[in-house]
């Protein structure tokens, strides 16, 4: 997938502005789908307008007679090239919804296709698999469900050796998985999890990427926490996934992206994260984070944010597990390079994908909350000022930044001393000017800590017209009490 994207994007007919507009529409559609919890849905897999714009070959509408002709030729033709050609023509036709409908309604058509899929003619097998893939891609449930008789074979072929064929089977399975719970209810007893566990040992990167994709779709299913994740955790899949995420010369970005997302879906479902920790998930992900930070400094436009996002999420969620504390003695979790890496990533995200900043700051919160070590690192590495720089990005980001600062400040005078003086006060006065209640509330919490632990803070606050800044919030319900308390402290010590 990844390598195909790099080299193989076809030039589109529409202009840049149209592209941007189209992308915004797609984004809006995806957001809506997510809110309705429909993000794992077939219609989102294929972007229709994009297809229309880039039709390389024209999809033909075939009637019954033509389809029958192709099938007959494929099955019983004498010349191998002839048979293959018939299937190629059929496949082109199957890109078209009308032809798909006609095909599935034709008696024996799927049976014939499955027969060709399982034949001993290798090239016919491939073409038959491509036809099946087209069908699996359809938006019509009836068409997709017509592929069901083939699933046991698709799974059987995953233990084969032809990498192109396996890749195709995996993408087809991925499409089927997304179709409906009914389909998944067939795939699970047919042994899709053990089949994937066997297949993940393949050395082929294209196979691994396809497998990661199919698995991520499986793990994203609504019923996954109860019905799918337990058996995945019970298989050898997690160990292999972690292996494929180990940083080093063998790390492939496209593969890593897929399995990082797989891990995320498993972890955030909170089924048995302790098991993942014993398998070294924290250690692996921590090292991967360091590697990512190194990579963003070197490469320009490699799509690293696609990997950064799930890694940040996995680490953040895993740190909340009780088991994480047990392994906290491991170097990785007290290694201040983790903090350095995180800030390098935050800078990268600020430029590349600001909407992911909250996720990075979430990790920073979980790192610093109960860790004097990491709080000290923030100070000793001079990261407070860069942190303050993020206060102007958005409300959510501001709240998170202030929360992290509170994590540091609440550890006592030794920490507050290092926060003071500096740009902190003026930043706080700025945030007090925000209208967002949560941002202001968090600022007030921080002020309380500073007043408590840092002599001279209250004084300086008064001198910089702090009281006026507080005044504007005197009437706000959630803020009043805290505002008054601070006013008292500032005035009377």
């Amino acid at each position: 997938m990844w390598s195909r994207q790099r080299g193989g994007l076809k030039p589109l007919r529409c202009g840049v502005e149209q592209l941007r507009c189209r992308r915004r529409e797609r984004e809006a559609a995806l957001r809506k789908a997510r809110r309705e919890q429909q993000l794992v849905s077939k219609r989102l897999l294929r972007d229709e307008a994009l297809e229309e714009a880039e039709e390389g070959c024209v999809a033909m509408i075939f009637g019954e007679a033509e389809i029958q002709q192709f099938l007959r030729l494929a099955q019983r033709g004498t010349e191998e090239k002839e048979r293959e050609g018939a299937l190629v023509s059929l496949r082109r036709g199957l890109q078209c919804p009308e032809t798909q409908q006609t095909f599935i309604r034709l008696e024996g058509s799927i049976r014939t296709l499955v027969g060709l899929l399982t034949s001993n003619q290798a090239l016919l097998q491939l073409e038959a698999a491509r036809c099946l893939h087209e069908l699996s891609h359809s938006e019509q449930s009836a068409v997709v469900e017509a592929c069901l008789p083939a699933t046991s074979y698709l799974l059987t072929y995953l233990s084969g050796h032809s990498s192109d064929f396996i890749e195709l089977c995996l993408y087809t399975l991925g499409n089927l998985i997304v179709e409906s719970e009914a389909v998944r209810r067939q795939l699970l007893p047919q042994g899709i999890v053990p089949a994937l566990a066997a297949c993940i040992q393949s050395p082929h990167l294209t196979v691994l990427e396809a497998l990661g994709y199919a698995l991520s779709q499986l793990l994203q299913a609504k019923e996954a926490p109860e019905k799918i994740i337990p058996s995945v955790l019970g298989s050898t899949l997690p160990q292999h996934m972690l292996q494929l995420l180990q940083p080093g010369p063998k790390l492939n970005l496209g593969v890593a992206v897929e399995f990082a997302w797989c891990l995320h879906y498993i972890i955030c479902s909170q089924v048995n994260n302790a098991l993942l920790i014993t398998q070294g998930a924290l250690s692996t992900l921590g090292l991967l984070l360091l590697d990512l930070a190194g990579a963003v400094q070197r490469t320009e436009d490699a799509g690293l944010e696609l990997l950064a996002c799930p890694v940040l999420r996995c680490l953040s969620n895993l740190l909340t597990e009780a088991a994480a504390e047990a392994v906290g003695g491991q170097l990785q979790l007290r290694d201040e390079r983790v903090v350095a890496a995180l800030f390098i990533l935050l800078q990268f995200l600020l430029q590349k994908q600001p909407s992911l900043l909250p996720e990075g700051l979430w990790l920073l919160n979980n790192l610093t909350a109960n860790s004097p070590s990491f709080c000290t690192s923030l100070l000793s590495l001079d990261l407070i000022e860069p942190l303050l720089h993020l206060l102007s990005v958005s409300n959510v980001v501001s709240v998170l930044v202030l929360t992290v600062l509170c994590n540091v400040a609440e550890k006592g005078p030794a920490y507050c001393q290092r926060l003071w003086p500096g740009p902190l006060l003026s930043s706080l006065l700025d945030t007090l000017a925000f209208s967002d209640t949560e941002v202001v509330g968090q600022s007030l919490e921080l002020l309380q800590l500073l007043f408590l632990y840092q002599p001279g803070a209250a004084q300086a606050f008064l001198q910089q017209s702090g009281l006026q800044a507080l005044q504007r919030h005197e009437e706000v319900a959630q803020l009043q009490d805290r505002v008054h308390a601070l006013q008292q402290t500032a005035l009377h010590g």
Partner: protein, 287 residues
């Protein structure tokens, strides 16, 4: 967002951290009306916090999936033939050859030349078809292993196994890799070095001999080809695993060749050797 210049150096440096500053909390911190306490935060699957990242992920998938599934452009190479003995398939693309090799030659039963989609199915086939010890053991215990990887159930008969596949694993009743064997003859090796084909009739032998001219050493080659006549079963019975009797499938039409009874002079049957193969069973003719 300006990062301190030493940060990048720190990343590249050795693991480790500075000595943490002493922690000293005042009980008044975070007391009413204040409430701050450091907290580990966790987000479950469907939380809105993940919306942006999820949307980006799916945009990426959409972009990529539109390119999957079409036949990719293959670099063409000068035509070459499959190197496996007896196979004369020609290719002009390496990937096509790879697929051909894996489909037809990789997991091939050395006894009966049938090809299987995976090593797992090949192993099962050899066990159930060509291992006489298996037959003996099967009379006394459950030997037929479920075909689904990861399922450890075993069964007394292949019929029981099929039922298990259908009921428990939702497999189709006509799963091609669990077809009952043709009753045309049993292939099993008593000694794995010798293959006894009890259904190999004299007619087959003559047929085989008529294929190639009288060349020394040709007989062996020809014999292999004759045995291999059965190597490529028709579409319907591509790969068989289980070994129970059922109606034999029809001989694929169009593959008969005219044969002559003339035996080339280079073929010698040796002293006292009888023509054809000894067979305790009545030989089945081709249908």
């Amino acid at each position: 967002m300006q990062l301190p210049p030493a940060l990048h150096a720190r990343l590249a440096g050795a693991p480790g951290s500075a000595e943490p500053l002493p922690v000293e909390r005042d009980p008044a911190a975070g007391t009413t009306p204040f409430s701050f306490a450091p907290r580990l935060v966790r987000f479950p699957r469907e939380h809105d916090f993940f919306e942006d990242g999820d949307v980006q992920r799916h945009l990426y998938l959409q972009d990529v999936l539109t390119q999957v599934g079409g036949a990719p452009e293959r670099p063409r190479v000068p035509e070459f033939t499959c190197q496996v003995a007896g196979c004369c398939q020609v290719f002009d693309a390496l990937e096509d050859y790879e697929h051909h090799y894996h489909a037809l030659h990789r997991n091939v039963c050395s006894f009966c030349k049938r090809a299987f989609p995976s090593g797992h199915l090949l192993d099962t086939h050899i066990l159930e078809w060509h291992d006489s010890l298996f037959q003996i053991l099967a009379e006394r215990q459950d030997m037929y292993q479920c075909l689904v990887e990861g399922c450890t159930e075993k069964f007394r008969t292949s019929r029981d196994r099929k039922e298990h596949l259908v009921m428990r694993h939702l497999y189709p009743a006509d799963f091609r890799f669990d077809k009952p064997r043709r009753s045309r003859g049993q292939d099993f090796a008593v000694d794995s070095r010798i293959i006894w084909r009890t259904d190999f009739s004299m007619g087959d032998f003559y047929k085989a001999l008529s294929i190639s001219p009288a060349v020394p050493g040709a007989a062996e080659q020809v014999l292999a080809e004759a045995l291999g006549d059965d190597r490529a079963p028709s579409e319907g019975d591509a790969m068989e695993v289980c070994s129970e009797h059922v109606e034999p499938s029809p001989e694929p039409a169009g593959e008969r060749r005219a044969y002559s009874h003339r035996i080339p002079s280079t073929i010698c049957f040796g002293q006292g050797a009888s023509r054809g193969f000894k067979s305790a069973k009545k030989r089945n003719k081709h249908q």
